[in-house]
């Protein structure tokens, strides 16, 4: 789980162009600068490509923060 958080960090830093961003499980669109709907699309697309998984429409709707995202990725990877 820590692993996934560590792997997500550079993706978020790149997409949001914030080299100093420190990501936590509690990070979400309202407490991370520039995490708007467009960045969100880029984040999801890049994370899907990184892990070679696809998120279902319903799963995407239910994501609240980075913690949810990590849990979802774990489920997806375990199912592979």
């Amino acid at each position: 789980m820590d692993n996934i958080l560590e792997e997500l960090q550079p993706i978020f830093r790149d997409i949001l162009d914030q080299p100093d961003l420190v990501l936590t499980r509690e990070s979400n669109a309202s407490n991370v600068r520039d995490w708007d709907s467009l960045s969100h699309i880029n984040l999801v697309t890049s994370i899907e490509k990184h892990y070679k998984v696809r998120f279902a429409l319903k799963e995407l709707q239910e994501l609240k923060d980075v913690g949810d995202m990590i849990d979802l990725i774990e489920v997806k990877l375990a199912a592979k």
């Binding site: 709907s37 697309t45 429409l57």
Partner: protein, 605 residues
């Protein structure tokens, strides 16, 4: 340091993957936008789906190409309204370019399945009319260039194969609509068509649409598809501003032919039809020639002795001839110096150059030494060179002027195709229509490898199925007792290469045919008649009176069991056990039989 960073990112953009580009887009944009002397371009994007991703990618690509783009995007799906009903926002933005980014989902009325041919035309006209209103409104209100995409085929074809045929098929409708768009663009200089139909086929429709992103964000296409769209758009913008490239600078050894001409000699370089590798180099030369014919200048830049290098173009199978090369530099000076010389002689800037070389070290130095030149990484496989160069979209034209085209040759090719569609009264007429020409001559060092190879792989049209090594063939070619003929056949569809071998061994005034074979790709072309004519001529010249033929049956060569009988040879004997047969033909009284193949003087080599 900043400068070198920028150069680095620019270099990578042509080839980098969508994954990399999505991740690094923001930092790339920051770096690239800091460069000086960027040319401003204002682009309004009127979208039928969410356009942000394609615009974000386009922005980075344009920055890398030396533009400073400013974008205006319509709300998704409001392309018609923004262009026709309320163009005030568009007018206020004053774009240089208006890009209409629409998809098959934006069509107002798709014909119902029961639609008739006449009704189909009505549906096409109605949709075309809606777009004509858009283009007309933009033309009236703005001074901008319009880029309109045509349509990909729909994601589902509910009528299966009939979908492209039936007047009620959705695929058929879009094919018709695309033709109508093409005609509209061909007659309207303000309107440029972006060929999404072709692009989507190249990427593949299954990798083109992304329904999850469509339902979630109204982004219709995959990131890969949007990158393909952005790359093509960037090349169109470059072309609009006259920044398309105009010169293809080519290395020679292992780029235009296989092997090193200075070491291997003209006989051993790989070009022509005789091996797969040679075929691949020939195909690449044909690609280069096709660029030359549409107005791209070809230049040579090679580390070679000039005279030796030029010999390569005199190879009988070289598609490219010296006359196609606008500037020829073969010497031992560094390549970047030669390229600057070429630029001077052609009076063109190096930023209009593309440099193609199989050697990564040469590419690296040229790229580092000459700012603005394009140096695609063509990789190690000649079969991929053309596709990799194409993917760079370096030579995008926005219009084809008279001077761009060698029209005469284009028209010739078309005329030939049309006449071929006519029907034939008999087989001879068909053979005549093939416009065949053959080169039949005694063995040459250049072809011995191919000759030995053919003896080892030809099984069906092979009278004796004797196999020879290259060394044996080399010995035979020097032995006065042998008459060895090779035959090459060309027809309207191209060069079939070296396809037939006839080998005779002299004993007094008799020539024994040890070998007669032909590749099956030229069966029933009368090539065997042309070969026989030539061997009889050779016999006459050498005072040989009788030709003796042998048929040795195998499991695979029954197609030539009656070969000698059909050619008018007389049976001499048949071995009761093996069924091997012997045949003779008297040279005196033989009349040439080939009627349909023109015999060419052999080329030297």
């Amino acid at each position: 340091m900043v400068q070198s960073l920028v150069r680095l990112s620019v270099m990578n953009l042509d080839i980098c993957s969508i994954d990399e580009l999505l991740l690094k887009r923001k930092s790339l944009r920051r770096e690239l936008a800091s460069a000086e002397g960027l040319q401003s371009v204002r682009i309004a994007v009127l979208g039928g789906s969410t356009t942000n991703e394609v615009v974000d990618l386009l922005e980075v690509l344009l920055l890398a190409a030396g533009f400073q783009p400013t974008f205006h995007q319509s709300e998704y799906g409001r392309f018609y309204e923004d262009a026709v009903l309320d163009p005030s926002g568009l007018i206020a933005f004053a774009p240089d370019i208006v890009y209409l980014h629409t998809s098959y989902l934006n069509v107002q009325t798709v014909p119902p399945v029961h639609c008739s041919e006449t009704e189909l035309q009505g549906y096409v006209d109605a949709e075309l009319d809606r777009y004509k209103q858009i283009w007309q409104s933009i033309k009236q209100n703005l001074a901008s260039q319009i880029i309109q995409n045509n349509f990909e085929l729909p994601a589902v074809a509910i009528l299966g194969n009939m979908d492209a045929v039936s007047s009620g098929g959705t695929s058929r409708f879009f094919l018709e609509l695309n033709s109508a768009f093409a005609r509209a663009a061909a007659s309207n200089p303000r309107l440029l068509l972006q060929d999404v139909h072709g692009m989507s086929a190249r990427v593949g429709l299954d990798h083109w649409f992304d329904w999850d992103r469509w339902f979630s964000y109204k982004i219709l296409r995959t990131a890969e598809a949007n990158l393909a769209m952005a790359r093509s758009l960037a090349s169109m913008v470059r072309a609009i501003y006259g920044k398309s490239r105009k010169v293809l600078v080519l290395d020679l050894d292992n780029t235009l032919w296989g092997g090193v001409i200075g070491d291997d000699g003209i006989d051993k370089i790989q070009i022509g039809r005789e091996t797969p590798v040679a075929e691949a180099y020939t195909a690449f030369q044909e690609y280069c020639l096709s660029l030359q014919k549409r107005g791209i200048l070809l230049a040579v830049c090679s580390k070679n002795d000039e005279e030796t290098a030029k010999q390569g173009f005199e190879h009988p199978d070289s598609v490219l001839k010296l006359e196609h090369i606008s500037c020829f530099k073969a010497n031992w000076a560094p390549k970047h110096e030669n390229i600057l010389e070429i630029a001077k002689e052609l009076n063109l800037g190096v930023e209009s150059f593309v440099f193609v070389d199989d050697n990564p070290a040469e590419r690296a130095i040229v790229e580092a030494q000459i700012g603005g030149i394009a140096v695609p990484d063509i990789g190690p496989e000649v079969s991929r060179f053309a596709a990799i160069i194409e993917a760079g979209r370096y030579f995008e034209p926005v219009s084809m002027s008279q001077e761009d085209l060698s029209r005469a040759s284009l028209y010739q090719a078309n005329a030939a195709r049309v006449s071929y569609e006519a029907k034939f009264a008999n087989y001879g007429e068909y053979l005549d229509s093939l416009l065949m020409s053959a080169e039949i001559a005694k063995f040459k060092p250049l072809y011995l490898e191919r000759i030995a190879q053919l003896t080892n792989k030809t099984n069906q049209f092979n009278l004796t199925t004797r196999r020879y090594t290259l060394a044996e063939m080399e010995a035979i070619s020097r032995d006065e007792q042998y008459i060895g003929l090779y035959g090459k056949l060309r027809d309207r569809f191209g060069d079939n290469g070296l396809i037939s071998i006839l080998l005779g061994r002299r004993e007094h005034d008799v020539l024994h045919l040890d070998l007669w074979l032909m590749s099956c790709r030229v069966l029933k072309r009368d090539m065997e008649l042309a070969m026989l004519d030539t061997i009889v001529d050779e016999c006459r010249a050498a005072c040989i009176h009788t030709v003796q033929g042998y048929y040795l049956p195998t499991k695979k060569n029954s197609m030539v069991a009656d070969h000698y009988d059909k050619l008018g040879f007389k049976p001499v004997s048949v071995n009761a056990e093996t069924k091997a047969s012997v045949w003779t033909l008297e040279v005196a009284g033989y009349i040439s039989r080939n009627r349909h193949i023109k015999i060419l003087e052999p080329t030297h080599g």
